[in-house]
Every structure is written in structure tokens, then in C-alpha cells.
Symmetry: C2
Subunit: 224 residues, 2 copies
């Protein structure tokens, strides 16, 4: 079986290849049927973490995606805010997804009461829309302002605290609303501290992208 | 890569191997990384189509699943009503899913306004719970009482009519709430008649089961 060639578009600017490729490497580990290539947008070393950083990223993502699509089977904008995804659906001829909608949608497959952990002031819009009344709570780890803060010892302690709060609140599953939590290996970290399942955003974006590529192969067409 | 060995439990009783194996064959076509084995419960030639037929199927499904699990990586109860799935989650040591929750959850990955087509009086409970306010309408094809009625020429005309109604109502995606619609190849049929995407229940159950098996392999454990 030929491997699916997926583009992984990072919204965190870095020239450190190890940091750049981390989502792609996770995707290849989780889904041996994919081969990834990673690129990042320029001039956003702290990624997307609020409305302003989201807004300025959108045209950069669209520009990069348009140039890149010809060599890809599908494109993942690896960010829980799904930046530029709706716009790109009307532009690209390959399947495109962010991390947010897939994570919210997949979490409902595992449990109906979903708690969300992210780095913005509230849950990203896609989580609010997909989860509706199934969204039982949102937590931002204390003192975490951007994706890099999630990687520190203090940041990890606060991730645990956030998850415990959501479990106490009756959450049946926790959906990550930042791919930085994947980079921080928070799924494995939380295993020791909570007993409900955590949905990793990089895992979910990969699964749903595979779904979209397969669906198109089987049923054909842009819409079906 | 070793293929995942999935059990496909049919809630339609048949000794016709072609009919019995149709979901398994579709799953293997959609997802080359799986190998399926199919069994069916006894004494329900018209499957599950109302509360009573659902209720009497549950203990049969549990009994069959318990005897079968040792030789499987995961078990799919291939029915949109998710019969016995919650009960089995507490009993089996392998991932288990129905068709309903996966279809409802995956449909939210594709569009936020979801129309549902099924054969019961209303949408199955899992669709109502997962979709919440994103459920914009439910249609039962006229004169269709059970899964077999979906396979007739008249049944197919009514499936088209139901889908068109949901598209007119503003649906961005249609979720099938009966695996008989997969058997009837309704996804391909509808392609010519509507312009929104249709989520096939056998496709969705396969994708989500692969997700559950992979998740367990990567992150380990029963809960995580």
C-alpha cells in the first residue's frame, strides 16, 4: 500500500529541525501508513496564542499551502485554532484540516462529556461549535501564555492541575486544544494523574486526515 | 505492518455468506490495514429496527462478543443503534464500538450542520447526544421499515428524497443512521442527487475503530 504523503504546516516559526519535525514524527509513529513533510510560517516564534497572532498567520498559511499542495495527498494545519482551514477548503484541491475540529469531533467518539485544555482565554471556536452542550468545562494551565510555556516543569504541573479539575467536574474525556500539549507529551504525563482518556490533537488530526483521504479515494469527488 | 484483526458483529441474521460478509468486505476495501471476521446474532432476520428488536438483541450480542474477543484486536457492533456497546465497554478487554457514535462524531469533522437519515421513528440516541444543536433534521425514507426495505428500487428513491430534504434544510453533511444504507451503496447513489457530503456508517465505524486500536497501542492502557 502506498503511503499517504501529508504536509504538516506548523504555525510556530523555528529553524531547529528537531522542533520543526516533531508533529510529523509523531504522526508517522501513530500512523505508519503516512509519510510527512513539514514546513512552518515565517516570523511567529511563539506560534498562535491569541486573536492577533491568529489573524496575522492566516495569509501566511494560505500562501504556503497554495505553493505546496501539488506534491501532497493532504495538508494538515497543525494548530488547534484551525487557522485558515475554512478559507483553504475553497482554494485547495486536496483535503485540508486543522487540529481543532478533528480533536473535538474524535473526543465525542470516546465520551459525551468533554473537558478542554488550551492556551487561549476560552476554548477555540471549533471546540465550542462541535461540542455544544457536551463541552463541560475549559481550563488554561495557570501562567501558560504560549505553546513554549507548556514545555517547562512548571507548565507541566499546571497541565496536570487543569486535567484534574476537568475530571472532578465530571469530564468523561479531555480534548487538547493546543498541539503544544502533544509536543509536551502531556497524554503520557496525564496517564499517571487522571483516569479518564485524553485526546491528543496531533493524533486526532492524523486520524481524521487519513479518514478524509480514504473517503475521497473510496467515494470520489470533492464533496463526497 | 501487521493487519488489525477486527470482529464485525452483524445484528441481521443470515446464513447467506455474501450478505453476512458485506460490511467486512467494505471495511477491508476502505481500510487495507484491517482484516475482518464476521458473525451474526441468531433469530433476527430483519435486524434491529425498533426498541423491541434492539432490546432482544442486546444479550445475544454480549454473549457472542464475550466468546469471540480473545481472537480479536477490536470489535465492531455494525449497527447505528450502538446496541450493547456501553455494556460491552465494561466487559471486554479490547476496544469496542458501534456504528452510530462514530458516524455522528465523524460527521462533525466534515460539517457543523448535520442531517440524519435512518429507519427508526427518530434519530438514534447516540446521534442526538453527540450532535446536540448541530442536528438540523432527521428523515426516515417513506415506507422503509427495516434494513431490507432500503435495498429495493422504491427504497432507493425514498433515500434520495430524504437526502434532498435535508440538503434543502441547510444540512452541510448527511450522517447515515443505518448500516443498511452502506449495503445499499447509498453514498454513491446520492452523489448524483445532492452536493453535500454523506457519511457512510460502515466507513465511520472502521475509521474510529482504527483510531481506538492505534490510540491504545501508542498511549497504552484501558482508559488512555
Amino acid at each position: 500500500m502506498d503511503k499517504l504523503k501529508l504536509g504538516v504546516l506548523r504555525v510556530l516559526t523555528t529553524d531547529d529541525e528537531n522542533i520543526l519535525n516533531i508533529h510529523g514524527e509523531l504522526l508517522e509513529k501513530y500512523f505508519p501508513e503516512v509519510k510527512t513533510e513539514t514546513k512552518c510560517i515565517p516570523d511567529q516564534p511563539n506560534g498562535i496564542y491569541d486573536d492577533e497572532s491568529h489573524k496575522i498567520a492566516v495569509p501566511k498559511i494560505i500562501s504556503l499551502a497554495k505553493r505546496w499542495q501539488e506534491s501532497l495527498d493532504g495538508l494538515i494545519i497543525s494548530c488547534a485554532g484551525d487557522p485558515a482551514v475554512e478559507e483553504l477548503k475553497g482554494i485547495l484541491s486536496i483535503p485540508v484540516t486543522g487540529a481543532g475540529t478533528p480533536t473535538a469531533a474524535y473526543s465525542l467518539n470516546i465520551g459525551k462529556k468533554v473537558g478542554v485544555i488550551g492556551i487561549g482565554k476560552k476554548a477555540p471556536q471549533s471546540y465550542i461549535e462541535v461540542l455544544g452542550n457536551n463541552l463541560i468545562g475549559y481550563e488554561k494551565p495557570h501562567n501558560v501564555k504560549n505553546t513554549n510555556d507548556l514545555q517547562t516543569k512548571e507548565g507541566k504541573k499546571e497541565i496536570i492541575r487543569s486535567a484534574q479539575k476537568l475530571e472532578e467536574k465530571g469530564g468523561q474525556v479531555i480534548a487538547f486544544a493546543c498541539t503544544g500539549l502533544s509536543t509536551a507529551k502531556a497524554s503520557l504525563l496525564l496517564k499517571e494523574h487522571i483516569s479518564i482518556q485524553v485526546i491528543d490533537a496531533v493524533f486526532a488530526e492524523g486520524l481524521m486526515m487519513i479518514g478524509m483521504c480514504r473517503y475521497r479515494k473510496v467515494f470520489g469527488g470533492d464533496n463526497l
